[in-house]
Structure formats: structure tokens, C-alpha cells
């Protein structure tokens, strides 16, 4: 789960880079950059859940 979460973080970043390269208008770019940030936040949420499970097991 933690590996998938880290991959999601990187995917979000590459989505942002792709938006800069492939899109032209500020509106479209902003939409895709926000989407990329959303993917990154999803990755962070998944990572948090993974570490919560680890903490639970340690207890």
C-alpha cells in the first residue's frame, strides 16, 4: 500500500509536468495542475492509512 501511495505522489507530479508541456491555456493548465495535486493528496492519504495500520500493529 505504501509503495502504491508513493507511486501516486510521483504520478501526480508527472501529471502536473505533462499539463505544462502539453496544454496551452492557463485555465486548462490550472485544471490539470489541480487534478495532479488531487492525485498527490490521494497518495498522501493512502500513505497515512498505511502508517496508521503499522502503528496499530505495533501496539
Amino acid at each position: 500500500m505504501k509503495l502504491v501511495a508513493c507511486l501516486l505522489l510521483l504520478s501526480g507530479f508527472f501529471l502536473v509536468l505533462a499539463a505544462l508541456v502539453l496544454l496551452a491555456s492557463t485555465g486548462q493548465r490550472t485544471a490539470f495542475v489541480v487534478a495532479g495535486l488531487g492525485v498527490e493528496i490521494l497518495g498522501l492519504a493512502l500513505l497515512t492509512q498505511g502508517y496508521q495500520s503499522t502503528t496499530k500493529e505495533q501496539r
Partner: protein, 429 residues
């Protein structure tokens, strides 16, 4: 550039480190106080040496040598390519370029130290000294130089206007380069080291482990203010060409955003708990400084107050959410204070900054790209580094160390030997 003013500002930066050291050792337990202070010194020492030897080469300078590649019709400047060991930087001040490079090295060496000491707060009472030194080397040698190059050293984030026709990412006082990088490293350390023993019950309910010296914490806030003024001023002069008038604005804005952050935290905790909480209020003060540093010379005093106010409110709720809901044991609140407030400050720069060129939308977009780089590239990099280091040098102290305290376990003597220690603190549980 005014080199004398820049040099004077740089000389104030160690006070930020002193303030942060007092804050995180005061928010930790008395049985780990000496360890916390020594860890700060070691982190500063390791980061200074590693940055000057290796990190400065990768951090680079604007219009200096760099590793680049071309893709999608753009030139991606992703890493500095200056000589290692700071070779070629002249300290004789023979030319303006030499002087600028020497000042950049001096500033970034101290900034790397600040990045390295931020995570100490999250690993308080359990993070061993050896791994602290290794993690400091990782931050000062690789992570900080990469993002410093992207933002301050002529990297792709600072060339977006040329490559993509949008505004450049801006970070005047280091809210992203220093604070968010350090705050994300703190989150990684809190996860890798795990929570303190006894912090969470079997049901996941956190136990309150109060700091041992709130007076030092509050004094640390005042020291940090002076250091932050120096940091914000120096980076504004060196990387954004701020003049004397703008530096005066930086001082006013730093004071205002810290004040608003502190008062917001006082008001929120007074409303929620019926009495103001001193430790959360000190976090509000630092959160105001952190958030305000991104836009320190580019916003009006009213905007600085609003930025600090929001940071103060944000940090009081974020610290609670991280502890209660997400079960992240971060004794000093470093993740909320440095990472979250720093991200808010970066976005606030896009929203409220005064810019000579480009639309507001373009500037917000540029700031969001910078935040995305921090979350999507810098965090995985620092987390992978911490996981790798943890394999060879375990971060977490053993169970004996938890009940003895880090002072006895790692240093062999406590910080306060004349204090009476209750026997039950030394009984293994």
C-alpha cells in the same frame, strides 16, 4: 544588491536556529532535553559541512553551470553543476559576481542547517543521534540543494516564464525551499521512527505528553523572529534583488504575520479550551512567520496580517487532526507549523502578491506547480532516503531508551542532574 545589508541579514539567521532549538527541546520531555540540544548542534554541523562540500555544487547559482535536458520543447534545468567542495568561489570579493556567489553559499549553508533541524522536533524523545546526523547529511547534501536549485539557482521552476509562458515560481523567504522541505522531512521521520511508547492507547487514543519548559519555548519564539527577519531579508536581497525600502517592508510583514498567527492561535484555543494554550500559541507565532516568509516583500501589511491569521488558525486545528485522527506523533507540531503553513504561504503569495508582470491566475498556477513539486517529488525523495537510512541505522531508540530517556540512553547523563527524578519514571513498563 546591497552586500553589507545582505551580510548583516545573513548574520541574524543563526538566531532562527537557536529559537527553533529552544522550541523543540522545550516541547519535548525533560529526560531528552540535552539530547535535543546536542542533536540540533550535530544537525547544524553535519549540514554545514555536507552542504559546502557537496550540496552547493548541486544547488548552483542562477546563470551558472547546470545539468539540463530538452523535452517537450522546453529546456529543463534540473540540477546545478558547479564544482564540488565549493571550489572556485572567491572570498576576496574581487568582483560583484564573486561576492554574490560567496553570499549565496553562506546563506544556503545556514538555510540547509535550518532544514536539517526542523525534523528533530517530530522525532523528539525517540530519534537516535547517529541517524539524525545521517538524515541531516541527506537533507543538506541532496534534498535541499535540488529544490534550492529549482527555485533560487536558476532551475526549471524559476524559468517557467521562458519555457511555458506562465509566471515563475516565487519563494522570497524560503517558505518552500526551507520550511516545507523541512516539514515534509519531519512527516517522514515521524512515520519512520513511529510514535513514542505510550503515546497511543490500544484504542488509538493519544495520551497528552506536555512539553517540559514552556518558558524556553516562548523565548525561542522571540529569538526566531529575529532570525526570520534576517532570513527573509537576505533571501529577498540575494535572489529577488530587494532594495532597502523592500527590506523595511519585510521586517514589518514578518512582525505582523507572526503577531497575527499568535493572536489567532490564542483566540482559537481560548474559545475551544476556555484558556489560551501556550504551546499552541507559540506554534501559531512560528506558523505566522513561516507562512509570511513566502511573500515577505511582495504583499501589503494588511495581506501579511491575513496570511498570518490564517496560518495561526490552520495550525491549531492541523496539530489536533494529525495527532487525534491521523495518529502522527509530532511533539513539536513541525508538520503543521512548517509544511502546512509553508504551503499556505506559497499559495497566498500567488493570491495576494504584487507583481509587475503576468496575471493573478498565472501566478497562482506557478505557485501550485511549486507545491506539486514539493509534494510529488521532494517528499518521495526524502521518504525513500529516510527508509533506506533506517535499514542501516535504525532511527528509533530501543525500549530501554524509551523509559530511560534519550539523555541517559545516548549521552549517559541527564540535562538537569540536580532535579529530583521520580522513581516510577525509571521503572520499566
Amino acid at each position: 544588491m546591497n552586500p553589507v545589508l545582505c551580510m548583516f541579514s545573513i548574520m541574524l539567521i543563526p538566531l532562527a536556529a537557536a529559537g527553533m532549538a529552544l522550541i523543540h527541546q522545550g516541547l519535548g520531555r525533560s529526560r531528552s532535553a540535552a539530547h535535543a540540544m546536542l542533536a540540533t548542534l550535530c544537525a547544524l554541523a553535519v549540514s554545514a559541512i555536507i552542504f559546502v562540500l557537496f550540496g552547493s555544487a548541486w544547488a548552483g547559482v542562477a546563470s551558472g553551470a547546470a545539468h539540463t535536458f530538452s523535452a517537450g520543447g522546453a529546456r529543463w534545468d534540473w540540477l546545478g553543476a558547479e564544482p564540488f567542495f565549493s571550489h572556485g568561489i572567491g572570498f576576496d570579493g574581487a568582483s560583484a559576481i564573486d561576492l554574490s556567489r560567496a553570499l549565496t553559499l553562506c546563506l544556503e549553508m545556514l538555510a540547509a542547517g535550518l532544514v536539517a533541524i526542523i525534523p528533530l522536533s517530530a522525532g523528539s524523545d525517540r530519534w537516535r543521534l547517529g541517524p539524525i546526523c545521517l538524515a541531516s547529511a541527506l537533507l543538506a547534501g541532496i534534498v535541499f540543494p535540488v529544490f534550492a536549485h529549482w527555485s533560487w539557482g536558476g532551475g526549471w521552476l524559476s524559468q517557467m516564464s521562458v519555457n511555458f509562458g506562465i509566471a515563475n515560481f516565487a519563494d522570497m523567504g524560503g517558505a518552500g525551499v526551507i520550511q516545507v522541505v523541512g516539514g515534509l522531512a519531519a512527516l517522514s521521520v515521524a512515520w519512520v521512527a513511529g510514535p513514542r511508547r505510550g503515546k497511543f492507547s490500544d484504542d488509538g487514543i493519544p495520551a497528552a505528553i506536555p512539553g517540559h519548559n514552556i518558558v524556553q519555548v516562548l523565548f525561542g519564539c522571540i529569538l526566531a523572529l529575529v532570525g526570520w527577519i534576517g532570513l527573509d531579508s537576505a533571501t529577498s536581497i540575494l535572489f529577488y534583488g530587494a532594495g532597502l525600502g523592500q527590506v523595511v517592508g519585510v521586517i514589518v510583514n514578518a512582525m505582523l504575520s507572526a503577531s497575527a498567527g499568535c493572536l489567532a492561535a490564542v483566540a482559537v484555543t481560548r474559545t475551544r479550551y476556555r484558556k489560551p494554550d501556550a504551546s499552541l500559541s507559540s506554534n501559531g507565532w512560528i506558523a505566522g512567520l513561516v507562512a509570511g516568509s513566502a511573500a515577505c516583500a511582495m504583499v501589503s501589511p494588511v495581506a501579511a496580517i491575513f496570511i498570518g491569521l490564517m496560518a495561526g488558525v490552520l495550525v491549531t486545528y492541523a496539530i489536533e487532526i494529525f495527532e487525534l485522527r491521523l495518529q502522527v506523533d509530532d511533539p513539536g507540531g513541525a508538520v503543521s507549523v512548517h509544511a502546512l503553513s509553508g504551503i499556505w504561504g506559497l499559495i497566498a503569495l500567488g493570491l495576494f502578491g504584487h507583481f509587475a508582470q503576468g496575471s493573478r491566475g498565472e501566478h497562482v498556477l506557478a505557485q501550485l506547480v511549486g507545491v506539486s513539486a514539493l509534494l510529488g517529488f521532494v517528499f518521495p525523495l526524502v521518504h525513500a532516503g529516510n527508509l533506506l537510512l533506517n535499514r542501516f541505522a535504525p532511527y528509533r531508540v530501543d525500549d530501554d531508551g524509551h523509559w530511560q530517556g534519550m539523555d541517559i540512553r545516548e549521552l549517559g547523563a541527564g540535562a538537569y542532574p540536580e532535579f529530583v527524578v521520580h522513581a516510577d519514571e525509571f521503572v520499566p513498563r
